[in-house]
């Protein structure tokens, strides 16, 4: 591969990676089937994977099933070993003691977001899964996007109703594998759905796909850094906006936010600190950075004698795919002989698009 477009490894991240790796060697593997609605087919896919693993000779048991299984699902359940749930006040929960004694190599747990009855070993089922993995048991499980804690506000806004159970996204991120179970809304509904509900489901579907893409991106990055590779794939758009006192920063940030949203990408806003700014310019910069925060950009102040170099360094470290910058005001006869900073940025930004914006003061 080319030696351009390299990302520099960050020592802190490398250390974190090594630690994660050490945790992983003795831990059970976690695979999650992620869907955006019930009826999309998560349970069946999960059970089918268990069935196929058993056929290949793995020691697989079922530790939790949904209250009402489809006939196809029930057929698989009947063909496999099931650890019966324990009951507290008539509410079922995974029988952790029995499961740990049995110690299979793989266990299937349908419905990761489940609140255990009071008096259980752990209040939440995902904590059971954590313990099973620590004990070296691999877990295959399923979850519906609406139970992921960090997404709940957004999903409540779309659906207009809330759910009480939740699993933290950080736990989802510890999964070795996440598989998306995708289907169109009509496909997973047992009755005909229309208009509003269809749109709601379609929005949830989009959230699930983007969430999975983000997890993949995150894992890919960690994998590459762990391998000591600094290759950048650019599968996710990352936009970097460079603000200066002269640039029309609001316009750039606004456009960048919109583009990042459309591409489901990341947005960074940087300012390369400069000496000798007058008070008005300093205030302008502050206002623009505040605006960047409001637009949910990741904002950073950079320093360095050579602003172009500082920006390129940041871009390379963060796998940036597009840089937004204001037009240069240097245009005199000297500019004919020497590249201005924007031209240098364009020439030296390997594999990165540079979008140059009109400045506020310029008129055609």
């Amino acid at each position: 591969m080319a030696d351009t477009e390299r990302r520099r490894p960050d020592p802190d991240r490398l250390l974190k990676q090594v630690e994660a790796e050490e945790r992983n060697t003795s831990q059970g593997h976690l695979k999650i089937f992620l869907g955006y609605a019930s009826g999309v087919g998560k349970s069946l896919r999960m059970l089918d994977e268990g069935r196929r693993r058993k056929l290949r000779g793995q020691d697989v048991v079922i530790a939790a099933t949904q209250a009402c299984a489809s006939p196809e699902a029930q057929q698989i359940i009947d063909s496999m070993e099931v650890i019966p749930p324990s009951c507290v006040n008539g509410i079922p929960a995974i029988d952790m003691d029995a499961l740990l004694r049995r110690h299979p190599s793989v266990c299937l747990i349908d419905g990761l977001a489940y609140r255990n009855p009071p008096g259980s070993k752990h209040p939440q089922r995902w904590q059971d899964v954590e313990e099973l993995r620590k004990a070296g048991i691999s877990v295959i499980t399923s979850i519906n996007i609406q139970y992921i804690a960090e997404r709940q506000l957004e999903i409540e806004r779309i659906r207009g109703k809330s759910v009480s159970d939740s699993v933290p996204e950080s736990f989802i991120q510890t999964a070795d594998e996440i598989e998306v179970v995708d289907a169109t809304p009509e496909y997973c509904a047992t009755r005909s759905i229309e208009g509003d509900e269809q749109r709601q489901l379609s929005e949830l579907r989009e959230i699930a796909l983007v969430l999975a893409a983000d997890v993949v991106d995150h894992q890919l990055e960690e994998y590459l850094q762990h391998q000591g590779s600094t290759q950048v794939y650019g599968a996710q758009e990352r936009i970097l906006v460079c603000v200066t006192p002269r640039s029309s920063a609001r316009e750039m940030i606004h456009r960048a936010r919109r583009q990042a949203d459309r591409f489901h990408g990341d947005l960074y806003v940087v300012y390369v600190e400069q000496d000798g700014l007058n008070e008005a310019d300093q205030r302008l910069i502050r206002e623009n950075l505040d605006y960047a925060h409001e637009a949910k950009a990741r904002v950073e102040l950079l320093s360095g004698d050579d602003p172009t170099e500082a920006i390129l360094d940041f871009a390379s470290k963060h796998g940036v795919t597009q840089i937004f910058v204001g037009h240069s005001n240097q245009n005199g006869w000297a500019g004919r002989l020497r590249a201005n900073p924007v031209e240098r940025l364009i020439m030296e930004a390997d594999g990165i698009d540079v979008r140059v914006f009109p400045n506020e003061t310029v008129n055609a």
């Binding site: 591969m1 351009t4 598989e179 989009e206 993949v216 590459l224 459309r262 500019g335 020497r338 310029v362």
Partner: protein, 358 residues
């Protein structure tokens, strides 16, 4: 009799051979049949996979058409036979396939469009690497130049795009067990295309593309944005030249325009040192449904900027000049001249994305 309504297109999108597209296609065909629909299989590629072949049981398969080409016999989908049979739903594997010369149409997607026009619903499969606008990025990720591509506007015709997902490790396990190819071919595949990070990157692109396809089908009013005021529609001008870099520039411009829902046109300036290459690039743009124009002007940069101002272009797309022209004492570069001249416009200088191989 009134014209029969157009058929609906449903695309099952994957990111590599072996993720389960064909299997899922046949499974859905079976379900449709059980639901009482009139279903045929127009084309499917068994790849010698037992599970997949078993899935065709009970489905009507329209026999393939045999074509003689240079003394050898090839088989293609028999579009005419499907039209005569006139089912409600037809399953067609490998949407991006290129037909053998001598076929009525050069691409299978063109055959599919004929079926759709005749009112037949089509269920088909493709991988993300066949999407035209991602061609350069894919080549950078995999090191493989994909030749069988589908223009983005064709995928847009689909009523639905559904992701067929499988984590790369599971895919690699399948390969090693010889499920996808025979073991010998599998080893070659493992050595080449099927590298885990590359697969992860392709998978990520397929996930994001599906999310995008879902979003654009939700309708204009529903696009999630932090700003609610109506946006001025952007107009993107792509500067096409005789340089081979124009191809990547056109793809990138098309992709950005699609995502921003912007108008997009491609412009070449004559005289050109290689008018034939320039015309080929403009033709490529037209294939991607980009309107083209040819302007006359001794100074290409001035001609472009003048055109952009007169036509309310908001953004000019240019290729990055080759490095050896820098610093450009004397010999000026069109892209850099445009950056200097068009201070009242947005100018995007697009970097090459397939350097890895080029």
């Amino acid at each position: 009799m009134p014209d029969r309504e157009k058929g609906k297109l449903r695309i099952l999108l994957g990111y590599a051979a072996g993720v389960g597209k064909t299997y899922r296609m046949l499974e859905e065909a079976q379900q449709a049949k059980r639901a009482g629909r009139d279903v045929v299989v127009g084309y499917f590629e068994p790849h010698g996979r037992k599970d997949t072949i078993a899935k065709t049981e009970g489905l009507e398969i329209v026999p393939r058409r045999k074509i003689d080409y240079r003394g050898r016999e090839f088989e293609e989908m028999d579009t005419d036979a499907i039209l005569r049979r006139n089912p409600e739903l037809c399953a067609v594997d490998e949407f991006p396939h290129t037909n053998i010369p001598g076929s009525a149409r050069s691409k299978r997607w063109e055959d599919v469009m004929v079926l759709i026009d005749a009112g037949i619903d089509v269920l088909t499969t493709m991988n993300i690497q066949h999407l035209e606008s991602l061609n350069d990025q894919i080549r950078e990720i995999t090191g493989v130049a994909v030749r069988e591509t589908i223009p983005d506007w064709v995928v847009k015709q689909a009523e639905e795009v559904v992701l067929i997902d499988l984590p790369p490790r599971a895919l690699l396990n399948r390969l090693q067990r010889g499920v996808i190819y025979g073991t010998e071919k599998a080893q070659r595949a493992l050595d080449n295309f099927f590298k885990e990070p590359a697969l992860a990157a392709l998978r990520e692109m397929a996930l994001r593309q599906t999310a995008h396809e879902v979003e654009i089908r939700q309708g204009e009013e529903n696009v999630r944005s932090h700003h609610t005021e109506p946006e001025v529609r952007e107009r993107i001008l792509i500067h096409v030249t005789e340089s081979p870099a124009s191809v990547g520039l056109i793809r990138r411009g098309r992709r950005v325009a699609d995502y921003l829902k912007a108008d997009c046109f491609a412009v070449g300036v004559m005289p050109s040192p290689d008018p034939i290459a320039l015309e080929q690039h403009l033709e490529f743009a037209r294939k991607l449904h980009i309107e083209t124009r040819v302007l006359e002007g001794r100074n290409a940069a001035e001609t472009l900027v003048d055109f952009a101002r007169r036509n309310a272009v908001t953004q000019i797309f240019l290729s990055k000049p080759p490095k050896r022209q820098f610093p450009f004492l004397g010999a000026r570069n069109v892209a850099m001249d445009v950056v200097r001249l068009a201070k009242d416009r947005q100018v995007t200088v697009v970097a090459e994305r397939n350097k890895a191989v080029g």
